[in-house]
Structures are given as C-alpha cells and as structure tokens.
Amino acid sequence: MIKAFWLLFLLCMFPLWTYAQNVTVKGTVGDDGGPLIGATVKVKGSSAGSVTDMDGKYSIQATPKQTLVFSYLGYETKEIVVGTKKVINVNLSQDQKILNEVVVVGYGQMKRSDVTGSVVSVNEKAIQRSVPTSIDQVLQGRAAGVQIQANSGTPGANTSIRIRGINSLNATNQPIFVIDGVVVEPGGVDTSDPLSSNNPLASINPSDIVSMDVLKDASAAAIYGSRASNGVIMITTRRGKVGEATITYDGYVGWQEQAKKLDMMDLKQYATHHNARAENGIVAASSSFVNVDALGDGTDWQEALFRRALMTSHNLSITGGNTSSTYAISGGYLNQDGIAVGSGYKRLTLRGSTDAQIKKWLKGSLDFSLTDSKQVVGANNDIIMNALESQPSVAVKSADGSYDGPDDVWMPVNAIALTNMRENYNKKTNFRANSSLEATIIKGLTFKTEISADYNNNKFYYYEPNYKFGVLSNNTRTGKWTKTDTKYWSWRNILTYINTFNNVHNVNFMIGQEMNHSHWENQASTATGFLSNSVHDISAGDVSSSTGTGTQVDNSLFSYFGRAFYSYADRYLVTATLRRDGSSRFAEGHRWGWFPSAALAWRVSNEPFMKSTTNVIDNLKLRFGYGSTGNQNLSDWAYMSLLASKSTPWGTGVLTANNANPDLKWESTDSYNIGLDLNMFHNRIEFIFDWYYKKTRNLLLQIPLPAYLGSSGNGAASNPWANVGSMRNSGIEMTLNTVNIDKNNFQWRSNIVFSLNRNKVLSLDTNSSSIDKTFQVGSDVSTVTRTTVGHPIGQFWGYKVIGRFEKAEDFYYKDANGNVKTVALPEGSSIAKDKTWIGDYIFEDVNGDGKINNEDETFIGNPLPKFTYGIGNTFTYKGFELTIFISGSYGNDVINYNRRFLEDVRSNSNLLTSASNYAKLGYIDETLTGAAKDDYRNLYVLNASSSILPRLSASSTNANNRMSDLYVEDGSYIRLQNISLGYTLPKNLVRRMKLENVKFYMNLQNVYTWTKYGGFDPEVGSMYGDALMTGLDYGRYPSPRIYTFGLNVSF
C-alpha cells in the first residue's frame, strides 16, 4: 500500500512520458533471484525512459532500429537492439568490475583505474558489517596505513586517526574530512578535556555514507594543499538514483558491558593492608579494622559505576528520481547509554540531497543535513579514577539512603553520587548545506560553482549541587552554561575539461579557486546562589553573583589550485597538481605557501606484450608519486602579542596572554610513494602494495617551555608556537583481498590489511633539542615523554628499575678492579630507614656517576606500534553472511599510569590487589636488640622471590613510584573486533512480500582482546588528543563490549 502511494507520488512529482514511435516493447527485468523493481530502461540516444514496476515489468516505445539500455544499481548494464521483438526479457548480472569503480578525489572523481596516487576505499558493505556509531570506527583495521584509536570509550568520544604515522608534533594530527566535496574541520581538540570527548565526526550518521576514500599519499592529497598533511578522508553520502523510489529501514538494538574489570582490593584486603601501613607508621591505625575477619567485602566501586547499557538505532532512507532529477532523504536516531553511570549519547540526523538537470547544459544540486545530539559526560576520567581509588570501606549510600563519603578529605569524592547529582552534558546542533551549479560550456568543458555552509551550535550545561558526602562537602551551588557557535562557509569555482582524443589520449584538466571563512564565538555564563538543587537554569541563580564572558575568532583561507591528468592508451598515466594557499593565521609575509605534486602510473597489464597473460592478470599497475602538503593547525593570533583582560580588586587589569612568534610559517610535508596494484584470476586476488617516505619540515609546535620562563600557573602567558624542526615517516602498506572459495552458493572472502610505519625526528631547532611532556596528577608533575633528534616522537621517558635491595649485600658491588663500591643511590639519599633501605628499588645509574639523578632518566618505551593489521573473513552461503574481523597492533608500549597510584603501596586510597604483595622485611637474627636489630645488615626481604613491589615506608627519599619502566607495559594486542552474522531472506520470497530486501543481523563488537596489558584496554589513544602524549593511560573510559541485533528492510 505504502509502495503504491510512493509510486503515485513519484509519478505525480516527476511526470515522465515518452513520445511515441510505432512499437511498444514490453518485458521483465530480473536477476537470478527474480524480478528487479525500479530498474531503468532507456532508449539509447534519446531522453525516453521507463522504470520497472513491482513485478519487474516495463513497457517502452521504440523503433526497431533503436537500442534499449537496461541498467540497475550494482548490476552490469545491458544493451539490446529492439529489432522485431515485442517482448524483451532481460536478466541482469551483478557488476563484478570493481576496476570501474569511481573514486572520489579532490574536486572531482576518477575511475579507479585512472588513479595514480595511493587511495584506499571503504565501501558501504564494510560500514554495515561493523555496525558503527561513528564513521571513524569503520576505518580501524580496514584501510592500510590508517591507524585508529579511540581516545575514550565514552559514547560519542573522539578517536585518534593517524594516516601513515604521526606527521605533526602539535595537537591536531587529525586528517581533514571532505564530505561530498566540503571540508569539515576536525575541530580544535579541546585541550582542557583529557578525553577529547568532543568528536565532530560523531555528528555524521554512518548509515548515510556510501563510501570513504582515504587519500594517503601527497600526490593524491596535495590538491587539498594547505590542510592535507595529515591526509584526507573523502566521504560520499547517499544520493538519489534514477528509478523507482527505494525505501530502506535499518535498525538495531543492543547492549554494552564492561569488557574487563580491574582486580581491586575488597574491604578485607584493604583493611589488612591498612593495618600493615599503620604498623609501619604511614597512617594512624583505624579502630574499625581491628578485626579484619569480621568485615564484609565492602563496596565494589567498579560494580557500582559500571552497568549494562542499552543502545538503539533506527534509520530510514528514501532514494529515487527520474532522468531529470534525483533525490535522497534520510533520517536517523541513535540512543546509546554509556557503560559508566552518567554517560550517554543521543543523536538525531536528517539529511536530504537533490540533483537536477535544470537545462541540457546546466546541472544543479542542493544538499543539507541536520544533526542534533546530546552527550552526557558525567563520567569523565576523574570519575573513573575516583571510583577505582575509592575505599571499599565507604558505602555508595548510607543506611538512611543518603550518599556516603570518606572520612579522609584526601580520598576521592563519591563518584556515583557525583555523576548522579551533577549535571554535565552537551547539546550540539549541526546544520550543513551545500549547493552547486555545473554548466557544460562545450563538450567536455564544465564550470562548477559551489557554495557550502556549516553551522554548529554547541551548548554545554553544568550544574554542581551542594552536597555533603562524609567529610567532603560543597556549599556553593553553581550553574554554568557555555555556548559555542561556529559558522563556516566556503565558495569554490572549478573549471574542468575532460576529453578523449583518438581513443587513446585521455585528458582531465581542472583549475579552481576557493575561499573559506570560519567564525567561532563563545559565550559562557555562570551563576551561584541557587535556592535549591531542583532548578538549574542560570536565571534561577543570584544575578549579582552571575558572570558572563564571550569571545569571537575569525580565520580565513584563500586558495588557487589545478590538476592535469593525461593518459595514453590506458597504459601511461600522469597526474600533476599545484595549489597555493594563503592563511590568516600567519603574519603578513608568511601567509602564502605552494603545494605541488606529480604522479606517474604505468598499467603494465594493458601493454600489448601482456596480452598472453590476460587470463591470469586482470590488472597490473605501478604508481610513483611525489607531493607537498601543508599544515596550519595552530592557534589564531599566535604571531601577535596579546593582552588578556583580568578582573582585579581595582577594576580590570591586563596580563600578557601569550608569547608571540611573528615569524611563524607553514609546516610542510614532502612525500614520495611507490605503489603496485595487482588483480589476478578474474579479480579473485587483489593485492595492493605501497611504500612511502615523508619528510615534514618546519614542524609547528606550541613549545612546552620550562617552568622558569613562567610558563605554568594561573598568571602565566601561554607558550609560544614555533616551527621547530623536521621529522620523517616511512613505511609500507599491504592489502590483500581474496575470494578463496566461490562455488555452490558458498563464498569465502578474506581481506588482510597490514601497515608498518617508522617515525624519526630528524632535527629540532630548540636549543634544548628535546621536547618534554609532563603530566600532572595532584601535586606530582612528572616528565612522561621525550621527543628528541634521532628517535621517534613521544618516547616514554623515565628511570629504569633494575632490582630491589633485598639484603645488605645488594648495596655493594665489586668493580672491575675488585674494589667494593656502593650501588648508586638517589642523589641526597643514603642507607637509612627514612632514605633508601632494604625493600626499596634499585635504579639504573645510566651515566655511571655513582648517584641516581635526573641524568639517569632514559628512554623506557615506545608508544608507536611496529605494525598494525586487520584480518577480515566473510563467509556467505545463500542468504547467510558471517564476518569475523580481527584487528591488532604489535610492538607498542603503553604507560599504565594508573598503577603509579593504584599500586602505590603507601597510599590510603584503594589499591589493586597486587599492591598487597609488597616487600615484607624480616630479621636475620631475631635475638638482637635495639639499634643492632634494626640495622640494615640484620634485615632482608622475606618474600623476595614472590613479590616485586617495594616496602611499606613511612617516608623515603628513594621515590619508589617515580616514573619508571615499571609502569611501561607491552601494549600489543589482537582483538576480535567484530563477529557479525547476517541473513538475507531469499529475493523471490521477499519480492512476494512486495519488498526488495530483508536482512537480519547480529553483531558482537570488541568481543575479546588478547593482550599482556594489565589496564582496562590496550587501545589507549592520545591524552588531550596530543600526539606527544600517545599511549598514556590514566583513568581512560574503557571501550565496552557491544552486542547488537538488527533488521534491514528495503522496498
């Protein structure tokens, strides 16, 4: 019924009457499964056309000399001369010619066979199989050279996307996304948010996407010059097709759960440990822990915080059109609760696109999309650490139903209470519109003008209630609203000439100009003085204590670009591009940059001498490319010295806001690529290989100045941006797609993706010639990574633990000459109970100067993987499809920074159970008394063989839990990322139900991870989205395991 309505609707909207000749041809169009609905039948060389009905039937007027063209999306087109036939039944076969796939390149499209650069594509099927909530998840392990890591498991959170390694030292190493030709800025990573829970890609509904093409090498990406140095991901969304409307519903329900639990102490274990600490004078003894056996298990804070969380998704799309206009409309809804209490994500999307042939020589298009989302971020990483560190002796709720709290002000606040009572969420609305007109001036020469706009309205709501949980309390009720609007527009004018001469000379020239402008503004208001916790709007607070601030920033980019493609006889292909960009982010004189590229390809398989191999080799192509790309990801106004307005008791004052650098210029990357494409045995085997070398110069970085330049604290000026040096990335990528078995309706396909990247810093212009990143937890500030010449970036930096003083002899060693020497102790320390003692760690004296100090810090780990891979296997039998997808990473280290605190045997907060296995000291001679008994020569570690942790010391200058290799763990993993099982009902059955396609599917995501890593999840990503803080795990929201069940229906 609905179908009939749509048909009627279509007929009314797009009347499509063909003018008559003398014959009416009728027939049925179908495939092996039965009739095809909505297949197009056209008379070649005329505008006359028809569409098959619900039974696959058509009727069309044609002369006997004319040819009918039968086409259907995803099928090979067939042409049949009418002749004397009155009935023409056609059976279309599915299109296997992937080489004729169209690849989206910058400001245009190309046949895959014509591509000279390195481009990897992910199609709709891969997207459907992985049931993603955000499109970036699809790329993980599916595209060679693209490394994806979720920075957090929070619903709607950001991911680190690295194409061919880390190219840039500054925070935004993200590629740019080009959605249907419009660049979408990855958005400034919010450096105040260690989780980077703000993901602009989360606003795009994955089911609207038809394909993603990743432009990896510079010869492909250079056309986006100024912003392309981190790579470009082109996203193509669904557009209308000529034919009867197709309506598709896709929906799923699912749930998520915590994939791994840390082994924290229960109350008995905690009490035992507390008593041991009291005996050693670290803490006052507690009367409640006198009888440990009488205690229960206490509160399991992980159990309290994490839950089984539901998710649902519904998507509806309608596509259709006639020969003069096509349309696509879709709507989607996603509701995902987070596995931690107080987190969740909701998203509504609506998009539409229309294409129209306005005149014979003029085409137009109009697209829009609207996204409305709400992300609840109550469970930030403070909350996760809070829950882990909370003592099991504290209840979530007291007997009277009120929230409980610790009796020690240094202990974390009740995490469950805070996430429940505190309001912390954001709402985002995104509206994107894109319109274009394309005129054909003469055959092959087109002029396209396109205007795009992108509006974002982000609002952040926060309310802190007054509370009293144990001794921790807050008297001030505070509400805060932050509103950030961005407006981005761009205008492009592109002239394209495509032609073929003498059947062998193919040319494709493009020249264009583009202007981009973005505007950012922010307003924040805060109020206190709320009369109760029940109403939270700012106006409910006390006006006299409310404050408001606001800021606007504009920046612009102006560009010229061009591309020339030429191919001879489909054998020799050459592409050259040139781009020139000007950016407002640099001072005058440093604004403009040139970004050229060139690439050659040789389709060996098309050479005459390869004729004899055509049965074996379908395609053999060699590719060579060079390109230069740029990066301008730095703060606006970094080149100018600014003053910040500050309130003082005497009115507004000013403070220097930043250290300026007027000489800032473009960061640029030169890259070289050699590639090979090989298709064999009728495309049963596809093999793609690429080798690349990239050199980035004038690296942009906000220099982390030493503290003695006044670089930290509330009154500090922000650190300067500078061009600091150069860096190299080189690597290889391999993709192997095979059809292993294809007979008797059974098909087994595999795809294997392998990426290997090596990074090295070549030079740094800063005088210290190294860049150190520190991380602060409470009052502890430790250097965690060092970036220096000759090493890969962001290497873990710290001390090396080489043992433990387990007996008095361990303090001494014999040197080469047989002289007895004291083992190096930390500077200022000596053998004493309050300094270094039996049971303390021995650190490696790297420089051999006989003392442990700063100079003994060294490289202790590498967060960059040796290689990453993805292995997918798809089995299909009739309507069944089973996909098993494995992704993995090998050879990367992770700092389990949580353990510095959760395994600190002296700490009063709750600890991992492993912390109870500290070094216990015993007397060699129990009979001694006084000082002789407590002398270190009378002490030894009782449990030396079974423990690794240090002793319980009241105080120690040995700093056992300093940043050391003890916290560096092997982060290699193999993850069973997806198991998805789908069943498509037989076509003939479905078509009898007047439907086109019905598919049921179930999917398990993040099924199991094989790893040695001891934290929640070895996939850690980057802290603050900062490339130099990769692999640092501190309270990261763990990625959940997800089970989904879904249904896909189209008609």
Binding site: V409, A439, V471, L472, S473, N474, N475, T476, T478, K480, W491, N493, Q513, M515, T528, T547, Q552, V553, D554, F558, M640, S641, L642, L643, K646, S647, T648, P649, W650, T652, G653, V654, L705, P706, A707, Y708, G710, S711, S712, G713, N714, G715, A716, A717, A722, N767, S768, T774, G778, S779, T783, G828, D834, K835, N854, E855, E857, S955, S956, T957
Partner: protein, 564 residues
C-alpha cells in the same frame, strides 16, 4: 544559448573578482584581546598592566609555597599526610617531590610577567603616557620581580636571572647565576622601586616607596650574610658559612631602610594583633604589601584571583567553606610550646582546645575548638587565615575566602631594625632597637625586654609571623654566617611529632614516639633541588654546573643618596 553564455560569463566574472581581493580576505580582526603594541596609550593603561601583578601571578605561590616553605620547612607546621608539606618538613625532598616544580614555577611566573610589564612600558608606550607614569609603572613591576628573586635566591640559591621573557623564549638553555648575583639583582630592583614609587599609594593596597624600603630592610639583612664587607662587587662573596659575622655595610643599609619607613611613612601598627587577620582589615595601616585577592566564588571570579590558603588551613566546613584540607595540617609541637604564657598571638595563630572564636559559627553562637567539633588528633590546627564561612562573614566562598595575604607588615620592619642595630654584637640595649622591638611585644601582651639578643629576635619573629610564610627565610639568613648552628637547630626541632589534647590532664600531650620519617638535616638541606622536569629541559640546572656571572649594567640608583 545566449542565457548560457551570459550565465557562465557572470559566474566566471565573479570568480575572477573575488580572487583580486584575497589580501583583504585574509586580514582578520582580533575582537577579544588587547594588542600589546597599541594598548599603552595612557597613564591608566600602565596602572592596569601593573594591577595584575598583585594577584594572578602570585596565585600558585600563595596556594602552597608560601606556607609549605615558609612554615612547613621551618617546622612551624606539622602536616603528617600532606605530600607537599611533609617531605619538606622531614627533609625527604628530591627533585621529584610533589609541589617542587609548582613552587619554582610560581615565583618565575612573577618574574616573567613583571618582565613583560617592564618591557611593554619601556618599548610600547605611546606619547600619551607620561614619563612619571612610566617610571612608576616600571618601579612597581620591579618591586614584584625583586621580591620574587629574593624568594628564589633564598630557596634555590643559584637561579636564572633574566630581564626579557620573550628573548629567552627562543633560547632558554642558559646557565644559572650565583646566589649573590641574584640577591644583588633583587636589591637593584627594589632600590629602583624605592626611588621611583610614589610617596603615598595611589590606591589602598598598591605599594609605595616605603613598601620598597621595608622589603629592602629584609633583603639587606640577607645580603649582609652573603657578603664579607663593603658594597657587593661580584668578588666579596662570603665563603665561610660559619664565620659568625655579617657585612656591616648591608647591616647599616638595613637599618637606614627601616628607619626610612619608620620616620617617613604613614604605616602604623594595628592596636590589636587579631584585627590583622580579618577580611574587613585588608590593606590596613600596618600592611605594607599584601597580595590582593578578589572577593566572590571562583565560579564568578574565576581561578587565579582567589584566596585559597583558607582551604588548606581550614579543618572543617564549619570554619571554612567547602572542602578543607587542613584537618591534619597543624601547628608543630615545637612551635606550640615556644609561645610564652600570655602571648595574645597564640589564640589568633593556633586553634587549641578550648579556644573560642565568636566570629566563626556565628549562627550557632560561636565556635569553641575541640568542643563545637572534635579536635584534630594530630595537634592544634592553624587559625591564621581561617576566617569562617560565608554565613559568618558574608564574603567567603569555597577556595576563595577573600582575605589578603600578608607579604610585609610594619612589625617586620621594626624587628628588621632591631636586628640591624644588633648587628654582629651578642646583644644590644640600644634604645631605638628596644623601642621598636618592645612595641611588637607589648601589642602581644608581653613584658618588655631591656636587652635583645639574636635568640630574642628569632623567637619574636617566629611568634609574630607564624604561618605568614617567613620563618624558613629567617633561618636561611642566619645560615649564611652561622650554618652549623642552624643545622643543629633544625635537627632538634622535634619534627613531625604529633600531639593531642588529653582531657584527663587538661593539656596537650605529645605522642610517645618521635615523629616518623624525619631525615637528619645537613647543610645541603638549606637549598632545594631543582625540579626534575626543568632539569630535563636545561642541563645547566644539573647539580654540578657552575653559575655564570651576571653582567649588571651601571647602577641606576646610588645607595649612598637613596637614604638622604
């Protein structure tokens, strides 16, 4: 066909036109921040640039270093469980200790921003700024920088001197300068301030030239210990730290500077000691330099201009808003016992069992320590800077109590004067010294003394300025010429000893055991290590590197004419 040509021509035309104005398209306006190149166009602009040097830049210093060094390290405070006080009290500090990097950074944020102000005034001022405003503005910024460098020299010894922050940004790996050079740098800054600051503060709370003289009386006393004789010339640095005498040249200057304040300024002692620690008496007649904090909740005023010491000292939500970390931050047993009977300052500085405060818990009829709520089991809590809740005073919020931080009070200048007059003598009966020394004692409700020794001064200073972040520097100053005496003193202070109220005896009783975890102090503990993080960035901060000589320019202010 015609429409097609027209249409395409029009499109191409606009495309071309836009390209010609690309230059303008790339020019953007900053509508949020003032530009430092154009801001300094009036005398008001100068005073707006110096107003932030009284708060934001000192915020991190105030939050921890002020008391963790001034009082924690000198054992006025026992904080059993505080990672950023205890290690310093117990001499367990290392280059990795909590709070070390923050403390070092906090003083340098004063230096860096003061430098920015000085250079902006010097090089960016337009003709709209009067010469007198320029010198006054520079003098005010140099006052701040000089004070910060005095702290740095006292705590770390050899540190990095610099006058232009932006020039060092591109080249920050530079050697340290010697402690005496840093002290001289600090003196020159404050002498400049003493000469060019106004006679009377332009607004309550701003420093004037007598504030500078007051600070000078303190720094000259430090320099007197660091040098042998005569004006510092880079060579006359004392090398015998146990020689027992100080440079009379600087003792004399300290006396002159103090007298300048006493004779010339309008600063007066408050009649009651307790009134100094009331929010209402911010910038009172006795305060020569205070950090100026905004009043209001941090949600309203933001971070950086808030007074948070009260949260670090406050022991419960009845005495200070919000979360209070001071429950186990107590007056040390050593200090607790040093108060003379009848010293009125004890009640204002330390909250011990039975002490009543009418202005705290006003609604509940006042607060009696140990009775209204149970007392700490670690010792008597710190009362100074604990000023009650919003309900009591109408001003305080969580981590923003609104009381100013004392940096220099007139009573210190009185005691500096007495110390300068005492000089290298064992004791003095000098009438002038006695007059001002006894003025401080009288206000505290104590008997006057007829003769003053170093020990009398040490005691008086400790009592007068307990928890005002000064006592460690008194000990450091003494260690410049009596090092072993100070080291011995530090090792006999009963550090980290807990004590609690014994209701049977009606007194406080110390725990049986000596404080745990206390290392034996040596001369090396008189200096702090450089933080590990900064050593990583500058190898000159490694322990074995020698300082470079600072090249001072010509002396801008003549010490012989400054006191005329």
């Amino acid at each position: 066909m015609k429409t097609k040509i027209l249409f395409i021509a029009a499109l191409l035309g606009t495309g071309m036109m836009t390209t010609s104005c690309s230059g303008d398209f790339l020019n953007q306006q900053n509508t949020t921040n003032l530009n430092q190149d154009t801001f300094f166009d009036s005398d008001e602009a100068v005073s707006e640039a110096t107003s932030t040097l009284y708060n934001y830049v000192w915020n991190s210093f105030n939050g921890k270093l002020y008391y963790s060094m001034g009082d924690g390290r000198s054992n006025n405070i026992t904080a059993q469980w505080s990672s950023y006080i205890k290690v310093y009290t117990n001499f367990n500090e290392t280059s990795l200790s909590d709070g070390l990097q923050e403390g070092w950074a906090s003083l340098y944020s004063v230096v860096a921003q003061s430098n920015n102000v000085i250079n902006n005034i010097k090089y960016k001022s337009s003709s709209g700024v009067s010469e007198s405003a320029k010198t006054q503005g520079i003098a005010e910024a140099r006052f701040m920088r000089g004070v910060a460098y005095w702290y740095l020299a006292s705590l770390w010894g050899n540190v990095i001197l610099y006058e232009n922050t932006s020039s060092l940004v591109n080249n920050y790996v530079v050697p340290t300068n010697s402690r005496a050079d840093v002290m001289e740098f600090s003196i020159r800054d404050l002498e400049y301030a003493a000469k060019y600051l106004p006679e009377v503060s332009s607004v309550a709370g701003r420093v004037n030239r007598y504030s500078a003289f007051g600070i000078l009386s303190r720094i000259y006393l430090s320099m007197a210990g660091l040098t042998t004789d005569g004006q510092y010339d880079g060579k006359n640095v004392a090398t015998d730290f146990n020689r027992g005498i100080r440079n009379t040249y600087y003792l004399d200057l300290a006396r002159k500077a103090a007298e300048k304040v006493i004779d010339g300024s309008s600063f007066k002692l408050m009649t009651s000691y307790g009134s100094l620690f009331k929010i209402a008496n911010n910038n009172c007649s006795e305060d020569m330099f205070q950090l100026q904090w905004l009043k209001g909740s941090t949600d309203a005023i933001g971070w950086g201009c808030n007074q948070d010491i009260s949260s670090f000292f406050g022991w419960s939500t009845m005495v200070s808003d919000g979360t209070n970390w001071g429950g186990a931050t107590c007056c040390s047993w050593d200090l607790f016992n040093e108060y003379e009977t009848g010293d009125l300052r004890k009640h204002e500085s330390v909250a011990a069992y039975g002490d009543s405060y009418a202005d705290i818990n006003v609604k509940g009829g006042g607060y009696t320590y140990g009775v209204t709520e149970s007392a700490s089991t670690n010792g008597a809590n710190i009362k100074k800077y604990v000023v009650g809740t919003h309900d009591d005073n109408g001003v305080s919020y969580k981590q923003s109590s609104g009381i100013n931080t004392h940096m220099l009070r007139l009573s210190e200048v009185y005691l500096n004067l007495a110390e300068a007059i005492l000089g290298n003598s064992e004791s003095t009966t000098d009438a002038e010294a006695l007059k001002y020394f006894n003025a401080v004692r009288t206000r505290a409700g104590l008997d006057t003394k007829a003769s003053i020794s170093y020990e009398d001064l040490r005691h008086e200073r400790r009592m007068e300025f307990a928890f005002e972040g000064l006592y460690w520097y008194d000990l450091v100053n003494r260690a410049y010429y009596k090092q072993q005496e100070v080291v011995n003193y530090l090792n006999n202070q009963n550090r980290n000893r807990t004590y609690k109220y014994n209701s049977d005896k009606g007194t406080y009783v110390a725990s049986e055991n000596a404080g745990t975890g206390v290392a034996t102090a040596t001369a090396s503990n008189l200096l702090l290590p450089y933080s590990d993080a900064d050593q990583n960035k500058n190898s000159y901060l490694k322990s074995n590197s020698t300082p470079a000589a600072y090249s001072f320019g010509a002396r801008e202010v003549d010490e012989s004419t400054l006191f005329e």
